[in-house]
């Protein structure tokens, strides 16, 4: 196994508050790892650090792709994305006025674009490249079950479909590392079960490494190979689902006594 992500002693401060505190975290290629913890523990903040939304106050984040090490702490979000880190948002952030297809196309074309001249003139290879972009985007929509809603505006999609679209859009950036922030939030158990299955499938199809934030323990315990537990910005536990489930600190801070999972 090769290391794909190395979060080394990273801290994020907001004024006096340490949202993330000297966190160490590693991911091996192909893993599916969960990140759980109480509300406000700093999970989303870690995603924001990984994707360049906030620069770390201290510490180092190293991402490896094709043997090349990239320091994510100093890069802007779009550069990080192009380097191969895709994400979804806890509060859905789609391009609401645009169609599902366009949402995916925008992500996809970042690595498959064409020149400004072609854009202005629509001269060849315009039509061909557009066709390619569209076809690959449709393919992705199809994978998440949205092909028949390709031309629906994102804001008119049902909530669950919007979550799926976020995943498709993240996949379209051709990531090797995918960060999912509460993908099952607001879904009923049925939908969650479907989603769980889909994440597993997509991971193998696209050869992804996945870091997943989720409060739905059924989902987490079912598919995660390893879990980090965060509380007050600090990693309080790390291990397999079984280890974490039975960890006293985790039960106290997060799970509560009788979790029915």
């Amino acid at each position: 196994m090769t290391r794909i992500l190395d979060v080394d002693n990273v801290t994020l401060r907001f004024g006096g508050l340490k949202a993330v505190s000297e966190v160490n975290l590693t991911l091996e290629a192909g893993e599916l790892v969960g990140l759980i913890g109480p509300n406000g523990a700093g999970k989303t903040s870690i995603f924001n650090l990984l994707t360049g939304v906030y620069p770390p106050s201290s510490g180092r984040i190293t991402f490896t792709r094709d043997g090349k090490q990239i320091n994510l702490g100093r890069k802007r979000p779009h550069a990080i994305c192009r380097a191969g880190v895709g994400r979804t948002f806890q509060n859905i952030r789609l391009f609401k006025q645009l169609t599902a297809l366009e949402n995916v196309e925008i992500a996809l074309q970042q690595n498959n674009g064409y020149s400004l001249f072609t854009a202005f003139t629509h001269l060849p290879p315009f039509a061909r490249r557009e066709e390619e972009i569209r076809e690959r985007s449709m393919e992705l929509l199809h994978r998440v079950g949205l092909a028949d809603k390709a031309l629906t505006r994102a804001r008119n999609l049902p909530y669950g479909d919007q979550r799926h679209l976020e995943i498709a859009r993240a996949l379209a950036t051709e990531p090797t590392l995918l960060l999912l922030d509460e993908p099952a939030a607001g879904m009923n158990p049925n939908e969650t079960a479907e989603l769980t299955e889909m994440i597993g499938r997509l991971r193998s199809e696209f050869g992804l490494t996945v870091l997943l934030i989720e409060h739905d323990m059924a989902l987490v315990m079912k598919i995660c190979e390893r879990i980090y537990v965060l509380d007050h910005g600090v990693v309080i536990a790390e291990g397999t689902p079984d280890e974490v489930r039975n960890n006293a600190k985790v039960i106290e801070a997060y799970l509560g006594e009788d979790v029915d999972v």
Binding site: T44, N48, V53, Y54, R93
Partner: protein, 295 residues
């Protein structure tokens, strides 16, 4: 040195006027994020009502001031109800365009009735004409002190209202999330009307004070100070009440110093260049907090 001090006094007086208009601008912006282009013209109406009060109606200065304030208050609320309220759910730019329309409407309706010529305001009341000589070359007039005092007092009063009163909290709640405010039992329409009432009343007062101070009013007099006041509000951090005052002083000061040291033809360019520089360094204005959006 003396000249510098005198120029700073001049700048402070000019700045107070910008600040007075900017306060209303900032309040209205604060609540519905509208650049209320008609604000400068309400200021103009205030000046004319005060003028009519002192000449046609033969009222004294304070009665005319009160008349102007009340008229502008009503006018502001009326404009909001008629031209802005129906567009609450629309894009901000739609409202911006009606605001521009209202601005033209006020300007040219006034011009239709009074003509485009400037009018001289009735003579200053005595207390404003008094001058205080600090040295031979440093002089402050009563009018300057009055305008400075009024703008600072109003700024403090507004700040207190917004921070600590019930209606002030309601105003802030409405500005951040009108629907959620409704769910707390806040009457959003009343709150917005109230804000327009205060903002427009301030503009009315500023109109009379400026009329008295500069002795000249005309139907298009609101455009330039309106623009400058808007700039002042942004410079200070739009929506932030002390910011309006600070921005006003800063612009007044810069304008005066640049003009006073021989570059008056470049005055506006310098003001705007400084504005842009400050915004580049502090993208949400001097007092604005650059809160990163939480994602």
């Amino acid at each position: 040195m003396e000249q510098l001090i005198q120029q700073l006094i001049n700048g402070l007086a000019l700045g107070s006027i910008y600040a007075l208009i900017a306060l209303g601008y900032t309040m209205i912006y604060g609540i519905i994020q509208l650049i209320n282009f008609a604000h400068g013209d309400i200021f103009m109406v205030g000046a004319f009502v005060g003028y009519a009060g002192m000449t046609t109606l033969r009222l004294n200065f304070f009665a005319s001031l009160a008349l102007a304030i009340i008229t502008c208050l009503l006018l502001g609320v009326l404009i909001e109800r008629v031209a802005y309220k129906p567009l609450r759910k629309q894009t901000r730019l739609a409202v911006l365009i009606t605001a521009i329309g209202m601005s033209f409407l006020l300007e040219y309706t006034m011009m239709y009735f009074v003509g485009p010529d400037p009018r001289a305001y009735p003579a200053l009341p005595d207390f404003m004409r008094a001058t205080i000589k600090i040295t031979d070359n440093i002089v402050i007039t009563g009018a300057q002190i009055l305008i400075l005092a009024v703008s600072i007092t109003l700024m403090i009063a507004l700040q207190l209202i917004v921070r600590y009163t019930r209606i002030g909290k309601a105003m802030r709640a409405v500005s951040q999330d009108p629907d959620a405010a409704r769910l707390q039992g806040i009457n959003v329409d009343t709150t917005i009307s109230f804000t327009f009432a205060i903002g427009s009343a301030l503009a009315g007062a500023a109109g009379v004070l400026v009329g008295v101070y500069y002795n000249s009013i005309n139907p298009l007099m609101g455009i330039l100070p309106g623009l400058k006041a808007f700039v002042a509000a942004v410079l200070g951090g739009i929506g932030i009440i002390p910011g309006a005052l600070l921005g006003g002083f800063l612009i007044g000061g810069v304008e005066t110093l640049v003009a006073g040291y021989g570059f008056s033809s470049w005055k506006d360019a310098v003001v705007f260049a400084i504005l842009i520089l400050i915004l580049i360094l502090k993208p949400s204005g001097l007092l604005g907090k650059n809160v990163k959006e939480k994602v």
